[in-house]
Structures are given as C-alpha cells and as structure tokens.
Symmetry: C3
Subunit: 315 residues, 3 copies
Amino acid sequence: MRHVQFAEDGRLRHLITLDGVSRQELEALIETALALRQTALRPVNKLPTLRGRTVVNLFFEPSTRTRTSFELAAVRLSADVVNFDVAHSSTKKGETLIDTLRTLEAMRCDLFVVRHKENGTPALLAEHAQPGVAIVNGGDGNHAHPTQGLLDMLTIRRHKGEDFSKLSVAVIGDILHSRVARSDIQALKTLGVQDLRLAAPAELLAPELRAFGQVFDRIDHAIAGADVIMMLRLQKERMDQALIASDADYFRQWGLSQERLALAKPDAIVMHPGPMNREVEIASSVADGPQSVILEQVGNGVPMRMAVMSRLLAG
Amino acid sequence: MRHVQFAEDGRLRHLITLDGVSRQELEALIETALALRQTALRPVNKLPTLRGRTVVNLFFEPSTRTRTSFELAAVRLSADVVNFDVAHSSTKKGETLIDTLRTLEAMRCDLFVVRHKENGTPALLAEHAQPGVAIVNGGDGNHAHPTQGLLDMLTIRRHKGEDFSKLSVAVIGDILHSRVARSDIQALKTLGVQDLRLAAPAELLAPELRAFGQVFDRIDHAIAGADVIMMLRLQKERMDQALIASDADYFRQWGLSQERLALAKPDAIVMHPGPMNREVEIASSVADGPQSVILEQVGNGVPMRMAVMSRLLAG
Amino acid sequence: MRHVQFAEDGRLRHLITLDGVSRQELEALIETALALRQTALRPVNKLPTLRGRTVVNLFFEPSTRTRTSFELAAVRLSADVVNFDVAHSSTKKGETLIDTLRTLEAMRCDLFVVRHKENGTPALLAEHAQPGVAIVNGGDGNHAHPTQGLLDMLTIRRHKGEDFSKLSVAVIGDILHSRVARSDIQALKTLGVQDLRLAAPAELLAPELRAFGQVFDRIDHAIAGADVIMMLRLQKERMDQALIASDADYFRQWGLSQERLALAKPDAIVMHPGPMNREVEIASSVADGPQSVILEQVGNGVPMRMAVMSRLLAG
C-alpha cells in the first residue's frame, strides 16, 4: 500500500500512510505547518492558496474533530468544501466506491479526505485517482491516520525542538486498535527517536509493532524518565467486551494518573488524540493539567492539514 | 444562569437569556438589526464584519428555520460556518459536551449557536467558554430562545414604533412548553410594556409567569383591544397526550379565528414563531391574512442574528 | 404542470420539465453551458454572477451526484448554498411544504433545487413561489429530471454537432420508472431528432411514450446503426420484485455488451445517467470503454446547472 502515494519522481501525490514517508518530507511538512500556524489560528483574511479548488470530505465513519479540522483547513486556504453525507449517498443505490470517486472527479473535485472503517479504502481510491487528484487518508480502520501522526509531530517539535533523536517517547494503551499509534510510531522512528517505548495490556498490543520499540507490560516502567507520553483512547467500540474487566480496573492498571506522571521528566508533555475517556485511560486532572498539550494537538491539526493540502495540490 | 452572559464590565459576552438584559442593550440590538435589515434581505455584496471568523451551529435538536437563519446571518457577515451534525458527532464515542467545546475552540471557532432539548446547556457551555469565544442560545428546552425574542421585538418595533409602554400585548396558547414565550415576555417587560396579557388553558400556563402579566382563561378576553397578538405553537411533541382532547377542540377554545381577531384593535398585528399548526392554534385565513406579520418575523430573524453576532464578536 | 414554469411574457421562470420548453430556449441553454464549461471545470476564480444570492438544496430524496453538482454549480457562480437536511427539518413537526418554502423565501433565499419522490412537488412549489424566486426540479418521481435532460443534450451536442435532425438515438431499458428518459425524450424531439427509438421489456415501457418514437422489443434492433445509445438505470428500488427474473437474465436480454455495441455506428456514443448497475444494464467494459461519455455527462452537469441558474436568476 505504501507505494501508491508517491509519484514516479518520488513526490508525495497522496497521503495514505506515514510508512515510507521520508524524514525530509516529514520535516518540510512540519515547517510548513509551523509557518501556517499563525494564519490558521488567527482571525485574518484567508490564504488564497486553494482558491477555485474543491475539497470533498468523504467520511464513511462518523467524526467531529477530524471532519471539522479538515473543513476549516480547506476553508482557510480559500477552497470550496463539499461534505459528502454517506447516509444520503448513492452508495445506497449500489454505486461502487470507485464510481463515486470517478463521479466527483468528473465534477472537478481536487482533493478527497477519506475516512473508512475498513483498512485500505483510501489506498484503493488513491490507486484509481485521476492525475492531479489527491487522496488524503482521514483514518482507515486500525491501519493509519497520517495527518494525526503529523500534527502530533508538530506538537512535539514545538515543545521539544527539532532534534527528536534524544527524546524518550512512551506510547501507552490500546495500541492494537489504534491507527493513531501506527502513524505516530512510524513518524517518530523516521524522525530519529531511539528510545521508543510501547506499553499495553498483552491483549491490546499489536504484535507487528514490537519491532519498533521496547515493549513494557507496566505503565510505570514505560513512563519513567520519558519526555513525551502519548496516551491512546481505549477503543471499546472496536473490541470484544471481555478484553477489559471494567473502566475502573483499566484505569488502575493503565490509566495516566498524576502519581504516575510524576515518574516522567518534570517537563514531560502529555498527549492524547481524543476523544478522551476521562478516568479510563487518563485522569481529568492530568488531561486538564499544566503538562497536557492535548488541546494544542487539536489546534495544530488545522495548520498541519493546511500544509498537507497545500503540498498535495501545489503546482 | 442569567449572570454567565455578562462580562465584568457589564458588556454582553454571550446570549443565553433575555432575563436581565437591559433596555438599553435591547434597544441597541433592535436599532442595529433595523440598519442591517436592508443588507440582510437584499442581494448585495456581503458585509465584511466577520471575515475570517468561524461560526459553529451546534444543534442537538432538529431545526430548519433557526439553523438556516443563523447560517445565513453568519454567511452574510462573511463568516465561515460549520454545521456540526450531532448524529455524526464524537459525543457518540462518549466525549463530553465541554470537551466538544474545547476541541472546537482549539480549532479557533469563535461563536457557537447551541440548541439543546435540555434547559441550561447553552449556559453550561458559556460558563466554560474561553475568553473571546461567544455562545448564543439557539433554544434550550422550555427555558429561553433569546434571538426569537429579539426578532419579535424588532417586528413589533417596525409596526408599532419605539414606545412599547402604551402597547397591549397578548401572549396566547401553550405557554408552559414555550421557550419563545419566556423570552418574549422578558423582553416585552424590559421594553416597558404595561398591559401584558397571558392566556392559556390552565394546564398549559406556566405558574412562574403569572407575575409578569394579567392572566386570562379565555382567549376572547385577552384579545379584546390588543395591539399585538402573539400566538404560540401547541407543542404536542412535548406534552402528555391527555392534556389536549383534540385539535378541533383546541381550535374551538384557543385558536385564533378571524372572528376572534376582530375583537382586537383594527391595526393589531398577529405573530407566531412557527412552525404553525394550521387550524389548531391559528386559522389559515388569519395566518395568511393582512394582519399577519408571521413571515416578516422569519425575515427579521436574519438581520437580528447578524446584529447579535456582530455585537458579541466585535472588538 | 408545464405552464407553471413560464412567465406571462414567455420567459422561463422555473425549470420543472422540458415538456414545452422551446427549441430556441434549449439551444440557448446549451450554448451558455458550452461557454461556461471552461470556467466550471478549471480551477480558476469564480464567476461573480450570483454573488449575494442564496441557493437552497431542498432534497427530500437522497442523492449524491445531483446535490453535489448543483452545490458546485452554485458555488462556482459565487452563490451561497444552504443544504436543507430533510431528516432534520421542521416538516417533522408538521410544517407544510408550502410553509417551508415561505419561510426560506422570507430569509431571502433565491433559488430552490427540489428533489422529491412524488411527481409534481416542484411544480407545486413553483405555483406558490414569490416573484423573483425560482424553483428548479432536481428530479421528481418518474415525472421529470430536466437538468439531466439538458446536460445530456449538451453532451450529444459536443460529440455530434448542432444539427440533431439526422441523429439516430436509442433510449434503452427501464423507461417506465425513469424521469431521465422522459426529460431526454422531450428534449430530443424538440431539438429535431426524427429517428428516436425506445427499447424496453414490455412491462417497463411507459405506454404514453410510445407516441414519441419507434418502439422495439429487442435491444439489438434498437441499437443497429444508432449514433447515440442512452442506457437507463434499472430502478429495482421502484419496482415490483417479480418484474425482473435476475440481474444476469436482464443483462442477457437487455444489457449493453461490447458485442451489441458493435451493431451501432462505429462512432456511436454510449450514455448513462448514473449511478450504474454494472453488469446489469451495462457491461463494465462498455461503461469504461472508448465510446462511453458517461463521465463527461457528469462533468457537463456542472456548467449546465450554472447555465440554468444564471438564466433563471438573471435580471
């Protein structure tokens, strides 16, 4: 799947996964987003970058923050946005996904943000997209969520500087079901993180990710001395009920409490992709505390998505 | 709840209820809306007032006219509008209302129009809103619908002039379930109406409103000599079935027919917040007749909401 | 119904059906759309034609391509667009369709695109529309889909030139349930097509259309020597199950295969209004083959709808 997103000259044509995206490309996106941050988060005139271009939000899975973040990113670049309401779509009449893409391409839509519960749907669309049309993965199954990975890197970059190689980063929780974890881990490795720690209940650890970091079976050990703590959402909606005894039990064993946070470096930052299950994977006092950068992550999503859209549609 | 909407210097920061809003403030909003009316209702270039600002329609209750009215008001002030589809929202994943607010604030959304079936939701969000972010109540339970109250005042102002003190105003029908009635009554009292008449079936009269006007148990008595007749929607969807015997029965006892309208002053105006139950609380011949200002009310909603948004986001 | 769409001076005020629209008018719309095509399908600055105007998509039936096509047409003419989500509308509270129209008119909405499963709904709204307000039929029951008819004419015009009189055109498939077939047939006759062929299973042939062309009970005979082949979607959702034995059976008898296409003129074009049932009414190899203009039809929808909106709102 990873090769579908690159043009023959190596340029990024789509954004489907961070797997295989070069360090140079990641850094360029982060720098672009940093520069756009001012514009994105201030009430000023819009940038004319995508004037006359059309962005389609093709969300086959419900979302608030992600759809709105992409919508605002597009609007603040002066693009026109069409929200494709899937419940109302012709897919009900049996039109295939590819025909839907072809149809919207024929109306001269330029960029499609695709969220789907099945792994591989954005890659499938990217394979079939016409020249000049870009597909951005807005999250597919537990495969990838590359713009979340990128905005997380932007957030770390703002707090910890350009050099990721010295950072200790702990990724904690329901790694198995998390597309965010996969995209974060790929980006962290590409940006040079050596000390990458993965901590999850045994039944929620994705076996294929073991190769990327040091695996811990206790949260305390993973947190000790960390610079960055990335908590994951417990995705109860995707799991067999029996995996987790109770919310209270999960919090006791795997939740980020203030006591546990004290084990990390004093200037460690706490991240979460949202939406949070408060008092399940994270204590409210931590989520709302001084080391939390969770709302900044949300804010960074807008300029990062502006950077991605600009890059894919430029030229 | 009423104090959450004012800044320390007394300035209006949110609009949650008309309870406690000063006469000066009401009059300023009405005058602003009068001035905007021309622009709002003519196909001209938009006003640049809210260029670069983002308005979110956060509707937890279905609505046509109100959402569209706010959307058009925002668009005609050059704001960007995001419609937050609650059925598709992360609230399904268990995110709290406050986290939803925080998330959208972090993306630099400036004003939230909130409609919710539970009393107090807009006030709750206003309590938690960041500085510079405004909450507008788009209707909560049977508590308040302040922009409807304001647009009703604008409509009366256009027909009856600036001095409300001499007007006889009758509010008639399902007062118990009506957030519109509450906001109208508060505004009418603040603007100096002395002769305020409330008429409702005993079981649909809100006891706490008795203090605001003279209570009638027959519609004919309430209408006699009135300048303004504000009919209310019979909110069958909010009531125990048994309260009303039948539509025909209700119309016979409480409906505004042409015969009854003849009891009012010859130049009395007939108002209704919509959507109407024709031949239940109001005869079609009255609703569509020469004394009806019902469609003008709808039209006045756009400039009044423009006035409110301008006022809350200005500076 | 056909007269509701014309003003007293003969000018087109609404677009409800192509029945009765003059050849001169059809040709003017086609020429306007041809001129707009460049603009509509290129990422350039928008046309200012409808700046300050408001277009409402009033879709009571689900749709993807049609709603999006109208939305993009409006946006590319600089109009503001409101999508009226019917599931969330006040029609649930019992407001009549006419009251909904009145309400949106009062907010100064200028043009309504109406799609409804019942024949005659757009005409009903056109009868009640205020002066200056235009209704465009976005498809009603099996009655009419005039903008689809127009974009099909634009597509034929681009491939076969201005003179329709020498063309052999075959309309094939589920004519009974097709509003597209009705609008196409009316436009083709008005534009001078002499050799119009209708081919359908006996139970899917609309009796009242027999007068417009030569009826065939075998697809091969209808295709032989044709310049234009218009395939129709098999509308299984609108038919008694028993009418069609199976998809495979239908394809065998009525599907457009490559073998059958070879019976037509070598430069014949293949059209389909979409969404397609692949391998039911049309083989994928034909739909995606060199004679197919199906995606061009979709693309032509945008400039044609721009032409219609411009014409109805101009002046």
